[in-house]
Amino acid sequence: MNPSEYPLVGRYVYLRPIENRDYEVIQRSELAGTTALLYRHYGTTPSPDHFVSSLWSGVLAQYMICSIHSNAPLGMATCYGADMKNGFAYLAALIFAPYRRQAFVHEGIELFISYLWRAFPFRKLYAETIEPNFSKFSSVTDIGWTVEGRLSDHQFVNGQYVDKVILSLTREHWSERLTASSPRSGLLERVRTLENGSSILENRNTT
């Protein structure tokens, strides 16, 4: 499939509708390793039929995130629980395990969010997560997401009760985020952190 056939094309990734052949990849990713405990099914193992139906339950829009260079599926993004009267919906995203450290994959989520603002008259998007997952991407608060709520010890996950965190992103904050310039390369962020650390040390040594 030629990525240029889809309007949702970025610099590194593109979005395409989910196809039957994707179900196996998604199921393997969702039900393997720690993801099985920390993501949507939280330790349960749905039957293949139920898995597919649950994948579409309450879904408004859902896309696979694929590499432009290799066409490999890297993850998926979902909009569900849409409330058109009140102008909000929920966003979920799953990056497949081998690619979670690759910051450019998150361009797919940005493409998806931009698509949602264009296609639907939402005021806000919500994302729900649990504390062990939130700590891995808490930097989203730097790019417009706000923690709106926290349900203490809400959910039993991986041997303990953990908080559920509810995040929101408004259309206005997203527009501001698009005009902001922040590095998206995880590698560059780490390099910059060390560079700044060196700078602080040098300043200390010279004062």
Partner: protein, 91 residues
Amino acid sequence: MMSAAKPPSPILGSECFVRVFREYFDFGYVDLGSRLAEDLAMDSIMMVELLLFLEELAERPLPDQLLAEIKVVSDIFHYYQLFSSQNHPEA
């Protein structure tokens, strides 16, 4: 009105850069001579991450062919130094 310019950050040395690179990609042993494909088995997805890294350093889009010229870790370090010094000449 002139605002106080933020002082440029120093460029990392090769040893430090290699360590960050190794930790970021979860590699075992890496040195400047490590070959990206043969020694580190970097796949196309990892190479795109490198392209993003270099583009953000360069502050402009780079041709995909640039990736084809990058064979070993020292090539990445070379571009890191080059783009850092171009955009922050006093660093």
